[in-house]
């Protein structure tokens, strides 16, 4: 019997006909993931070596959230019991009861609402899991054959397919299939490219990503003139995503705002304080087909919907789980999955090729060291970016090592900050005026 079915039966019984009154549930919620994944890696130009072998992973686990008859709550991680032990779940229930705590705002299970139609599964990925895994081996073979001759290649490909089950005591019973395909590669651990969506990468996307990365790698072989105080800093899309993850995501989490642990207060949101330049907007959008951050329903049973966090530079709402929404006095919002599902948009975005033409004196930052160590609440950064690409008169001319010092909130508020988009990324290039020095 599947885990979700076991839990559903057991929790229903514990609500309707508990063996002890103390163990009576008033409400519950179940989230179970059933998944299978295959992966293959490359290390130091060798595919499938002892540290990166072809791998298969099977999983069936989840979490339960319980509301007891006295209004207290419990949360627990669950997986299938190892043996067919009839006492297993009753014993678990007793332990969950021990772990109960008071949290009246959390003790609320939403009633079911209609779900949107969102594409989150690619059948081609299912076929890989079922055995047609040549695509993994072929892709790695191409990488190794096409790489620059002196470069050391590292990389990985992973395909995941499975079911997501959400059940609630209020009547929600959703099961849907979902998939993921993730691949990344790097050359000499200096420059790399990555792809992560709920569908397979298209051949033209793979070729464009590869070509961009190899061009950047080749540009890196030449030393370029150092930067000056007027040099414009351009964050590559992957850097923009990392900056969003470090500075924006935690400060828009409803619980942190409510608890006074974020950069903005609840009043800042109600007053719609201007925090970004009016041309910037920030949203959570789980409805985009086959994007990694897309879903049908949250783990709490809330249907996917689009939420604007910042509109025209002004704060609208943090993202709110059920508990935070009750404390905030509104409905739950869409939730990002890490930075997946989070979209930063500038009204005057231009294609990257056009933006590049206009950069007279710039440096393109592809990666930095130590971003995770920066203070998220203040937004301030002091980062080292060795192996950045120097831009002069609209051309990438070679490699330079720089140090960046500034504040990401200031960058997003500045009128001088521009954005450019690329077909390969959902996050934009950001062209900012910030502190830059030779490393």
């Amino acid at each position: 019997m599947k885990l979700v079915a076991q839990l559903e039966d057991f929790l229903y019984q514990s609500q309707q006909a508990p063996k002890q009154e103390e163990l009576k549930l008033s409400a519950w919620r179940i989230l179970v993931h059933e998944s299978e994944a295959v992966s293959l890696g490359v290390k130091d130009n060798s595919s499938g070596g002892v540290y990166t072998p072809p791998s298969y992973r099977q999983g069936e686990s989840g979490e339960v959230f319980l509301v007891w008859a006295d209004g207290t709550c419990s949360q627990a991680m669950v997986q299938l019991p190892a043996h067919n032990d009839l006492d297993y779940w009753p014993k678990a229930l007793e332990q969950w009861r021990q772990a109960s705590y008071e949290d009246p705002d959390a003790a609320h299970i939403p009633v079911p609402e209609s779900l949107p139609l969102v594409a989150v599964e690619d059948q081609a990925i299912r076929k890989i899991i079922e055995g047609a895994d040549e695509i993994l081996f072929d892709q790695v073979k191409h990488w190794l054959a096409d790489k620059p001759s002196n470069a050391k290649l590292q990389g990985s490909i992973q395909a995941t397919w499975g079911y997501r089950h959400v059940r609630t005591s209020t009547g929600l019973a959703v099961t849907y299939q979902q998939s993921q395909f993730m691949s990344w590669f790097s050359l000499d651990s200096l420059v790399g490219g990555g792809f992560a969506k709920r569908r397979l990468i298209h051949q033209e996307e793979q070729e464009a990503l590869w070509s961009l990365t190899v061009n950047q790698y080749e540009a890196m072989q030449k030393e370029a003139p150092p930067v000056g105080p007027q040099t414009q800093v351009i964050l590559a899309p992957s850097m923009t995503e990392e900056m969003l993850g470090q500075f924006i995501l935690p400060n828009f989490s409803g619980d942190r705002v409510i608890e006074g642990q974020g950069a903005f207060s609840k009043e800042n949101f109600s007053e719609h304080r201007l925090v970004f330049h009016p041309q910037f907007s920030l949203s959570v959008d789980p409805l985009r087909p086959l994007e990694l951050g897309s879903y049908l329903v949250t783990s709490e049973g809330v249907p996917a919907s689009r939420t604007m966090l910042v509109r025209d530079g002004q704060l609208q709402t943090p993202f709110l789980r059920v508990k935070d929404a009750r404390r905030w006095g509104t409905k739950p919002t869409a939730l990002p999955q890490g930075t997946a599902g989070l979209y930063l948009k500038h009204q005057a975005e231009v294609p990257w090729a056009k933006a590049l033409e206009g950069v007279a004196d710039g440096v393109l930052v592809l990666s930095v060291l130590g971003l995770h160590t920066q203070e998220a609440v203040s937004g301030s950064y002091s980062l080292s970016a060795p192996h950045s690409l120097r831009i002069l008169k609209g051309q990438i001319v070679g490699r330079t090592d720089v140090k960046l010092t500034g504040n990401f909130f200031v960058d997003l508020l500045a009128a001088t900050t521009k954005a450019a988009h690329s077909e390969l990324d959902i996050h934009p290039y950001l062209l900012v005026r910030t502190g830059v020095q030779t490393l």
Partner: protein
Amino acid sequence: MEQKEIQTLVRSVLMEARAFEGYVIVRAQSRREWSMRLSNGRFERVSTGWDSGLGVQAFTSGGASGLATSDVLAEGVGAKLVAKAIQLAQRNEEVGTKQNRRIWEAPLVQAEGVNSAQKVFGEIPLLELQERVMSLHSRLREAFPGGAWQTSYRQVEEQWCIGRTDGTLVSFVVPRAVLMHQGTVRDQGQAQSATIHRSGVDATVLFEELKDHGLERKAMDRAGFAKAVCGAPQLPSGHYPLIIDYGLAKGLAHEAFGHAVESDHMHESVLGEEGKLRKGLRVARPGINIVDGPLVGDWADQPYSANGLLRQTVTIVRDGVLEAGLGDVFSAEEAGMPVTGAGRAESYRNVPLPRMSNIRLLVERMIPLKPAEHLMDEVKAVRETLLQNGELREGEKNLLLLGYRGGQVNPKTGDFVFQCDGIIDVADPDLPIYQPSIFSGKILSALEAIRGGLGEGCYDAIGTCGKGGQSVPSSGGSHRYLLMDADQQVSLGGERG
């Protein structure tokens, strides 16, 4: 699952593979965790959980490998995983992977480790733990009402069993517990946070804290310091004489030197040459030693490797000279170093990688430091001790970097960056405070710049090593402070645009 049950499972899976001509490593793990988080006086979460699973790594007789794992421990899962791992290994061999037969040379080990916990998992009921953590949290909030406080407590027990085709069967228990306070403070329109923790192997950490309130004092001191940092000026970038605390020293030792001597990194390490460890290379002044090895009762203790070998203590740098690396069975010989049982994995799902346990950076030239109860008293003691010993560089800033927020290193180029909570100029009698700013440079220059230690050894700086996308506990430390000369390849700070 209990230890005997896990051993039985591993033996049964090995039996499934007995007809296979190659080699099999079976890893089973059962993990229990209780955790809780409080925020501003209320429980935000109390969670219980367990996770058990099985991983089978198969090697063809030529040495091509495949891995299959599952957390569904139903009837027949062992046979299924063995078949899948063998199929993947054979497939891997067909496409011409680089083969590795080192596992056949590993010594046979049969051992059962002792659980180092004084209070076994579950001995203190969850309800009692909740009450105690709430009492610590409430006390801290009353003592420092100007901060938004979160307190979390987590205790984990991992039971491992590793079996191999050669008859090896190793099982051990790894207990861990940590109590953490995180405070967010605001001043002059700026916000800063401070995180402080107390770690051990079991609920004893809570009882010790209830007795001495040492973590509470540290949390209040750090929150006060974070408040001062909010309105502090920024340092001009430059090369300064530095004093770094043991948390940052652990970061330096771990990120900069530990990773650079791991046997799978020798092709991409500044401490490797043509794939071999540069043994005999002078990397620091005489008297500098770097040692890695498990410590009983420590956050990152693990007595055996995830390949079933005894974990050894290794002197990486002895008297300033690079002497040894952290070798696992698969790459140590190729990297020119002995096998030291360094393979560790996050769980049964992951391939073990060579990595550290507790890494210590020690200096023979140590100046004693009188311990102080409060942070700023200790800073004053640092200044006085340095003055008395003629260690303050006259006419320039001598900067004390406090706290460790993490760091990153490119082992190939030797570039590193670290971040602290804030900076104090101990050469100035007013002890002015500055904003934290990037501490960066070249790892070999940083090691060469170390000139002495201040205070006794502190090895309980904890963290999580993220190598290979896995999360494995790490720890280490140094003297309470390390003294570093100014170096042109090691810099602090940058200027805003």
